[in-house]
């Protein structure tokens, strides 16, 4: 009870409650967006974000200065997701294809600049949604959240090399999706195992 009171007052070591609020509140929308993409469900995304804040708030005393706060919050969110029902289901269904992540090589793509520029937002969203979960999350963290490879590796708890290979494959598949869609080959749109 005493610890709880000190936590509420922000007097525990680590990060103060005021500092936490100042750093965490601006992340609410990005965290929700990420949770929504991962879970595919607004209610589950809301629960995930609430639980993330609750866990982070409880762990403020273990937060050490110099830790990347944003990566820390995203990591809590992702770990919360992975232990959720949807997360466990997804982990199970995608385990077979996980092998492919590691041995992928960065292939050279043909520039499709004109086609990408023709793609509208909705089509790109369809493309992101069609990606396998492991590709989708790395793409969002890199291109939307503009995280460095090292930050992404910390959030996802994977080596930097894996971040790079997943990112390369995610982009390759998304590019292919857009090219197929714009060249009228809708049959090729299904890219990953994501439902």
């Amino acid at each position: 009870m005493q610890v709880f009171q000190r936590l509420v007052e922000g007097t525990l070591s680590g990060i103060s409650r005021q500092e936490f609020e100042k750093l965490a509140l601006p992340l609410l929308d990005p965290l929700y967006n990420f949770a929504r993409w991962m879970s595919g469900d607004p209610d589950e995304a809301r629960d995930l974000v609430q639980e993330t804040f609750a866990k982070a708030l409880k762990a403020t005393n273990s937060f050490r200065e110099g830790t990347n706060f944003r990566a820390w919050m995203f990591r809590i969110l992702r770990n919360t997701f992975l232990t959720s029902r949807t997360g466990l289901e997804r982990r199970h269904t995608e385990q077979e294809s996980e092998q492919g992540f590691e041995d992928s090589v960065v292939t050279q793509e043909t520039p499709e600049l004109a086609l990408i520029r023709r793609a509208d937002t909705e089509l790109v969203q369809q493309g992101i949604a069609s990606l396998q979960h492991g590709f989708q999350e790395v793409l969002i963290l890199a291109d939307l959240e503009e995280m460095k490879y090292q930050e992404i590796a910390a959030v996802l708890d994977i080596p930097i090399g894996t971040v790079m290979s997943r990112l390369a494959r995610a982009r390759k598949q998304l590019r292919q999706f857009l090219v197929d869609a714009l060249q009228g080959r809708p049959g090729d749109r299904k890219l990953g195992a994501k439902s």
Partner: protein, 244 residues
């Protein structure tokens, strides 16, 4: 595609090259059309993902729920609700008495806004849109007030945006933005200007509250707070982003 630099195109686009490699890459790009096209392709895809990926915003009830989580003492229990209602009533009555005994302040608009500021301070739900992100709060007013305004960037300052609500004064709709600075709350009211007085900020003290009002770009601004001068920089920030 035999160019050895092609493998580094993604690293370049993702800003992952160190200073030396970046310099070399830039020198190479100026003479290699293939790599330049590949970088443009990468950047276009990154941009498309950035725009399309930002698809979902946290709903207002989640903002409210997180706010309650962060401020457990502000949770509204029936007792608390009744208590706050009583306190609100007492505060409004006290203000009424003070106004009655001291006489009406020079600007009746300020007196009315002081009331609204006090009511917001004592309310369990001080704002209609509870969000610290100005890019969420500002659009919320679209279609609700017959004018538009800009909110200043306050990242890295001691100010925190709590949210906003609709305000009415002298039969005119306006916007109220609520900020926190230290232990103090600051209300910034914005209305359409009806005359051309006081273009420069004028600060007056009224009933223990400091009011700073000014006019710019057809809008009249009022900043109200019980802090002495801690909130003053906010005036400059609003003036900077709202034209001349």
């Amino acid at each position: 595609m035999n160019c050895e630099w092609r493998e580094k195109v993604a690293l370049f686009a993702d800003d992952e090259l160190d200073a030396t490699a970046l310099q070399e890459a830039e020198a190479h790009l100026s003479g290699c059309a293939e790599c330049t096209a590949a970088v443009a392709d990468h950047m276009a895809l990154k941009k498309a993902v950035r725009v399309a990926g930002n698809k979902y915003a946290a709903p207002p009830e989640l903002h409210a729920s997180i706010y309650r989580q962060l401020h457990p003492h502000a949770r509204v229990s029936p007792w608390w609700k009744w208590g706050m209602s009583a306190v609100s009533l007492l505060l409004v009555m006290t203000l009424g008495v003070v106004l009655w005994t001291r006489g009406t302040p020079k600007d009746p608009m300020v007196a009315g806004l002081v009331d609204q500021h006090v009511i917001a301070l004592s309310s369990a739900n001080p704002v209609d849109i509870l969000n610290s992100n100005m890019h969420v709060v500002k659009p919320w007013f679209q279609g609700k007030v017959p004018f538009t305004f800009n909110l200043p960037e306050i990242g890295g300052t001691k100010f925190t945006l709590i949210g906003g609500k609709l305000a009415y004064a002298q039969q005119a709709p306006g916007a109220e933005l609520l900020y926190q600075v230290g232990q103090h709350k600051v209300s910034v009211f914005i209305f359409q200007a009806t005359d051309s007085r006081d273009k420069s900020p004028v600060k007056v003290r009224s009933m223990s509250f400091n009011s700073t009002s000014w006019q710019q770009d057809g809008l009249r601004f009022y900043m109200l707070t019980d802090s002495h001068d801690e909130a003053d920089p906010l005036v400059g920030k609003f003036r900077e982003v709202n034209g001349n």
